[in-house]
């Protein structure tokens, strides 16, 4: 027994012996923290230094055009998320379950939107889309679903690899469940955190996308921020900081809820 346990103890003791390495780690994290937080602080300080003071942060809702732009962005977010999930979830499950041979090909197709930059894609879209589609802002949602593909697929792929997919499906099917019931009542609950991260990445992408929206000439939230800058830079900067911090807080909240639910599921 001694011969077996000793190497393990040595291995376990190693990290503790390397406490000097802990300082290197702390310095790395401190520098990284400073690089990411100082600009937020600087912009926040600039936002409240204007004539409106702190009102620059609180009075955003009443600014001209804000409500229209923000609600357009919200509906685009909703449509994009629905399209992305409806398209990617069944396809990803299907590929993992029945077509492992085409997985590499499928993966490389989902990564294509990174190869074709948004600025190039919108040139082609405006060239090829029929007039009726160009007349509606929802053309953007259709394209955002393409832009979200790489991120959505990567999240779903990680989730699908982490569960015993074949076993779950076989068990569910042999107990008499149809495909719809198998997906909605067996697979989706098991994929909750993968779905969550796919959704969050999609939402963050749509709420921040500027290139396509501005060139398609629709005033979404990010485009409004730029346009309003000419009226009052302090307000635009305030909105920028708020949107960054709010997205981060939202993600933290979702992740906390998710962890709590997981640990409760484990305890019960």
């Amino acid at each position: 027994m001694v011969a077996v346990t000793t190497p393990v103890e040595i291995a376990a003791a190693r990290p503790r012996r390397r406490t000097p390495g802990g300082w290197g780690r702390r310095i790395v994290l401190l520098l990284a923290g400073a690089y990411f937080l100082v600009p937020i602080y600087a912009a926040g300080a600039f936002a409240v230094s204007g004539p409106d003071g702190v009102d620059a942060l609180t009075g955003i809702g009443g600014k001209a055009g804000f409500v229209e732009a923000f609600s357009l962005s919200l509906s685009l977010t909703l449509v994009t998320t629905v399209i992305t999930l409806l398209l990617m979830v069944p396809t990803a499950i299907w590929v993992h379950l029945r077509l492992p041979r085409v997985m590499r090909l499928f993966e490389s197709i989902t990564i294509l939107p990174i190869v074709i930059p948004p600025i190039v894609l919108i040139v082609g879209v405006l060239d090829a889309a029929p007039g009726t589609l160009k007349a509606t802002p929802y053309l953007l949602a259709l394209e955002y679903a393409v832009l979200a593909m790489p991120f959505a697929y990567r999240s779903l792929d990680a989730g699908l690899r982490a569960i015993p997919l074949t076993t779950l499906v076989e068990a569910s099917r042999s107990l008499g469940a149809g495909w719809v019931a198998t997906i909605t009542r067996v697979l989706l609950p098991n994929l909750r955190s993968a779905l969550l991260s796919a959704t969050v990445l999609t939402v963050a992408l749509v709420l921040g996308e500027y290139t396509m929206a501005s060139l398609d000439q629709y005033q979404t939230f990010p485009v409004w921020v730029v346009v309003y800058q000419q009226d009052d830079a302090h307000v635009s900067v305030a909105v920028s900081v708020l949107s960054l911090v709010a997205t981060w807080a939202l993600l933290m909240l979702i992740s906390l809820i998710d962890t709590r639910r997981l640990s409760r599921a484990r305890n019960s």
Binding site: P90, W94, I114, G124, G208, S240
Partner: protein, 292 residues
């Protein structure tokens, strides 16, 4: 474990399962491939006559546009390698800290910051490193005005610093799963066999991480190469990188007869990234032979 074949039979692909890909295939064809093909065709069309021409490509790969490609590629290589290494170090530091709270803060922050860009990002950095920015103020107070030493936020080096703000988080996001794939047992085995930390990284950790690391660099290159809004907002188009040049074609700043040069530039961007992807695929094939 492999999926059970419902009706047994040969190992080859049957048509049945492939039909499940139909919705995805159709969607991608309409919203990704059709626009791409439209660009590829448009790049060869003479806007005046509608006939075939190589003139668009000739303009796109000479003069200011060739310079635009060069600047874009330089900026993208710099903005892939530097944040790639920094992101790897940060992700490793976070993972080794063993704190689940820190890990959660970093993973949510990475998701947020990796998608942050454009004008809001430009604002953050103008407030920080602009000529009257906060940090520039601090540096002036200790007698080190970066603007007197040739630095400017609105030039190549300034843009590269700003790109780190979304490139590092993107790197952390994509490399963390690979770092988690390094099993502690490998490190312990190496330690027990008397390997130094350097030997472990050179012979075990490094080769295992290499394909993911290269793949992540490719993603970062793509991210920097296609970034439009941030640079547009910071320089108002004065730093001539290819996406900005394409944008100015779309905004209607076009000489007569050059309407399709924008599409030729777009085709050029697709070609550049495709070349990078092929190099990556070749490298990865070599890397995966080490893994076997």
């Amino acid at each position: 474990m492999t999926a059970p074949a419902p009706s047994g039979g040969r190992a080859g692909l049957r048509v049945g399962p492939l039909a499940g890909l139909l919705p995805f295939a159709l969607y991608t064809a309409v919203f990704l491939f059709v626009p791409t093909i439209a660009i590829a065709i448009g790049a060869f069309v003479d806007p005046a006559t509608g006939g075939f021409t190589l003139g668009n490509l000739g303009i796109a790969f000479s003069g200011i546009y060739a310079q635009g490609f060069l600047t874009s590629i330089e900026l993208s290589i710099l903005s892939a390698v530097v944040p790639g290494v920094l992101g790897l170090v940060i992700a490793y530091a976070v993972q080794r800290s063993g704190s689940s709270g820190l890990r959660r803060v970093v993973s949510t922050a990475s998701g947020t910051f990796a998608n942050f860009g454009g004008v809001p990002l430009a604002f953050l950095f103008i407030a920080t490193l602009g000529s009257t920015g906060l940090v520039v103020g601090w540096l002036k107070a200790i007698g080190l005005d970066p603007y007197e030493h040739g630095f400017s936020l609105y030039t190549f080096s300034g843009i590269a610093i700003v790109y780190l703000y979304f490139q590092i988080p993107l790197m952390v996001l994509v490399i963390t799963p690979a770092l988690e794939g390094l099993r502690p047992a490998w490190r312990e085995a190496a330690d027990n066999l008397g390997a130094s930390a350097w030997q472990y990284w050179r012979m075990v950790g490094g080769p295992v991480l290499l394909p993911s690391f290269l793949g992540s660099l490719l993603l970062l290159f793509g991210g920097a190469f296609s970034a439009y809004a941030t640079t547009q907002a910071l320089t108002s188009g004065s730093l001539a990188i290819t996406p900005i040049q394409i944008g100015s074609f779309l905004n209607g700043n076009v000489l007569s007869g050059q309407e399709n040069v924008g599409k030729a530039l777009g085709l050029g961007m697709i070609i550049v990234i495709s070349v990078v992807m092929v190099i990556y695929a070749l490298l990865q094939r070599r890397a995966s032979t080490w893994l076997r």
